[in-house]
């Protein structure tokens, strides 16, 4: 969990790069590249959230709000005012940073379930705003007509181009976050997680660090939101509701909270389950989904990222 080696990252990056080519060879999974785009977008959120929850020990049940703020700012500014999409992305991230700082400063003083409720409340309030401010957001019916992304004339208008764009960002963020964890700042975070009082006694400005991680995770969510908006060319408030915030938690819990790999695994698994693999069960889908969740939480408390460790343990026996 502490040392994240270079080899797995290289293997991972390589798999990501050749995946679309593999998918194209097998007709049954040709459309998996499409799903992987969404996996990538959600990974941007869960990497940050995993840092917040697994390392800084703070919970957020409202991250869908930041996802939505990024999406709507990108959507509104590009669709209605034709501002450059990349600039809007940056604006979205800046606005989200400010909102996260404003919300985080009082909220992060709360502990445990109180913090959970505060973030939950924030998430719902933002959702209600998206739903109610119809002149800006289009209300529950959503906002269509959001343009796609292009760079110096190169249009990201196919599934594969967007896939490489998103995953390029994901890999960059992943490597950056891993470096943070292994750096001095990472040790501070783990110290805070272990005991805020001890860390504070050692001179750490605990609230500043917590806020920093919170804002970082919020900004990543905003970036993800912008990518989402430009891919689907459409957004509506129900994408950014409480259930999505909970889904993010599930992705992290399932993958394993104490490992950034966990975020990727959990996100991939949940996204494929709910968008593809469970369709087979039709009306039993909800039950199978709940059942899988329950099994994994009961039997694998470290999430799926802990499986290799467990399997290694068997061989040692």
């Amino acid at each position: 969990m502490l040392r994240i080696a270079k080899l797995p990252i290289a293997v991972f990056a390589l798999s990501i790069i050749i995946f679309p080519w593999i998918a194209r060879q097998i007709p049954a999974i040709e459309h998996y590249t499409d799903i992987m785009v969404f996996v990538g977008i959600y990974c941007l959120i869960t990497i940050g959230l995993s840092l917040l929850m697994g390392y800084a020990g703070q919970i957020s049940v409202g991250h869908a709000a930041f996802f939505g703020i990024g999406a709507y700012i990108s959507g509104i500014l590009t669709a209605n005012y034709s501002i450059n999409a990349w600039a809007c992305m940056a604006i979205g991230m800046a606005v989200t940073a400010v909102v996260a700082a404003l919300v985080g400063t009082p909220s992060l003083k709360l502990k445990g379930h109180y913090l959970a409720m505060a973030t939950l409340a924030f998430g719902i309030i933002i959702f209600i705003i998206f739903n109610e401010e119809i002149e800006w957001t289009g209300g529950p019916d959503g906002m269509p007509g959001i343009p796609g992304l292009s760079l110096f004339g190169f249009e990201f208008d196919s599934v594969e181009r967007y896939y490489y764009l998103v995953w390029g960002f994901v890999l960059t963020v992943f490597i950056f976050t891993v470096n943070v964890i292994q750096s001095g700042a990472g040790r501070v975070l783990r110290a805070i997680h272990a005991s805020e009082q001890a860390a504070s006694a050692l001179g750490v400005d605990v609230s500043r660090f917590k806020l920093l991680v919170f804002v970082y995770s919020a900004v990543l969510a905003s970036l993800a939101g912008s990518f989402y908006a430009h891919y689907l060319n459409f957004i509506n408030p129900s994408t950014f509701d409480l259930f999505f915030s909970i889904k993010l938690l599930i992705m992290i819990a399932l993958g394993g909270m104490h490992s950034i790999w966990g975020a990727i695994i959990g996100t991939g698994l949940i996204t494929f389950l709910s968008n593809e693999w469970l369709h087979y069960f039709e009306e039993f889908e909800i039950i199978v989904y709940g059942g899988i969740l329950l099994f994994v939480t009961v039997l694998l408390p470290d999430g799926l990222a802990g499986v290799p460790g467990i399997v290694k343990g068997w061989f040692k026996e």
Binding site: I59, G112, M117, L120, A253, I287, G290, L294, V298, P301
Partner: protein
């Protein structure tokens, strides 16, 4: 039709707010019972309300049992489901961390919701009101008799629980577990049984709320989630672990929603209650009647 005075309007908002708030309060009390003994927040709490309503519908409308029999039968059935949750979902978890437990109870609520949609379908169901549907006019406000049943059940629940926790041995044993589980087991209290009992009690209270509210607002398979969220809000508002706090929190949230809808803007009514909750939390981080010690305990 004569115009209705502002005073009557305010009275109407208050009565509605108290009725809706009573449901939130009962859900919140259920949360607290389990939390006090186990430090777990059971996000499947809202599903007990849903099950109470729908099972009562099946027993009373489909099978034809009279209310006086169907009522306790429903409570027993929902209680058994509560016990099952403890046995199958909570107890087996090894090395529970708070996030794991949250996700486990969420998984349970998804399972229950999915099963309900298969058994009852997605349509809403109705129950006949306990004492008829003739509205009572009261200082210009019009009240359905069923509203009084809902508020009444809250009062009965509150009184019964306070007697139970303060006067009976079992109740005091449960309170002991809440304070210090290790010490309690040293004194010979079977902590596992107390946990079971807490789930059973919570389920029963949730079921009562569901049965009482269905004649007013029908019941369908996916009502549970929103109730759980609002009940949780009430719990936090009143202070985790505090029963008077839960009741106060529930009633306040229901009232803010009602007054907010009536006096300000109905589209934002849920936001008003949450904004007030946030403001209170920022000034009093352990809730209205909560204690600082409890709020410091939980880590992730």
């Amino acid at each position: 039709m004569e115009k209705i005075t502002l005073a009557s309007q305010l009275l109407q908002y208050l009565i509605t707010g108290l009725t809706v708030g009573s449901v939130y309060a009962m859900v919140a009390v259920g949360f607290n019972i389990i939390y006090n003994v186990t430090e777990i927040i059971n996000f499947a709490q809202g599903e007990f309300v849903m099950l109470g309503g729908l099972i009562m519908v099946s027993l009373h409308v489909a099978v034809g049992l009279p209310i006086i029999l169907a009522f306790p039968a429903t409570i027993v059935l929902v209680t058994m489901i509560g016990i099952l949750i403890d046995r199958l979902a909570i107890r087996p978890i090894r090395r529970p961390s708070v996030l794991t437990l949250i996700v486990a109870t969420i998984a349970v609520s998804i399972l229950i919701k999915g099963t309900a949609s298969l058994i009852w379908g997605k349509d809403p169901f109705d129950l006949p009101a306990f004492s008829g549907r003739n509205p009572i006019t009261f200082l210009g406000a019009v009240v359905q008799p069923q509203y009084f049943w809902v508020i009444g059940f809250l009062i009965i629940t509150a009184v019964a629980l306070s007697i139970f926790f303060n006067r009976t041995i079992i109740g005091k044993a449960m309170t002991a577990c809440a304070d210090n589980a290790d010490a309690a087991s040293l004194v010979g209290i079977n902590v596992k049984q107390m946990i079971l009992l807490s789930f059973a009690l919570s389920a029963a209270i949730g079921a009562v709320a569901g049965i009482a509210i269905t004649p007013i607002s029908l019941m369908e398979y996916d009502r549970g989630a929103m109730l759980a969220v609002k009940g949780f809000g009430a719990v936090i508002l009143g202070g985790l672990g505090s029963f008077p706090g839960a009741i106060l929190g529930g009633l306040i949230m229901g009232s803010i929603e009602s007054f907010g809808a009536g006096l300000i803007h109905s589209g934002y009514k849920d936001a008003f209650a949450l904004i007030v909750l946030l403001i209170i939390l920022f000034f009093k981080p352990s809730g209205l009647m909560g204690s600082i010690e409890i709020s410091r305990i939980k880590r992730f």
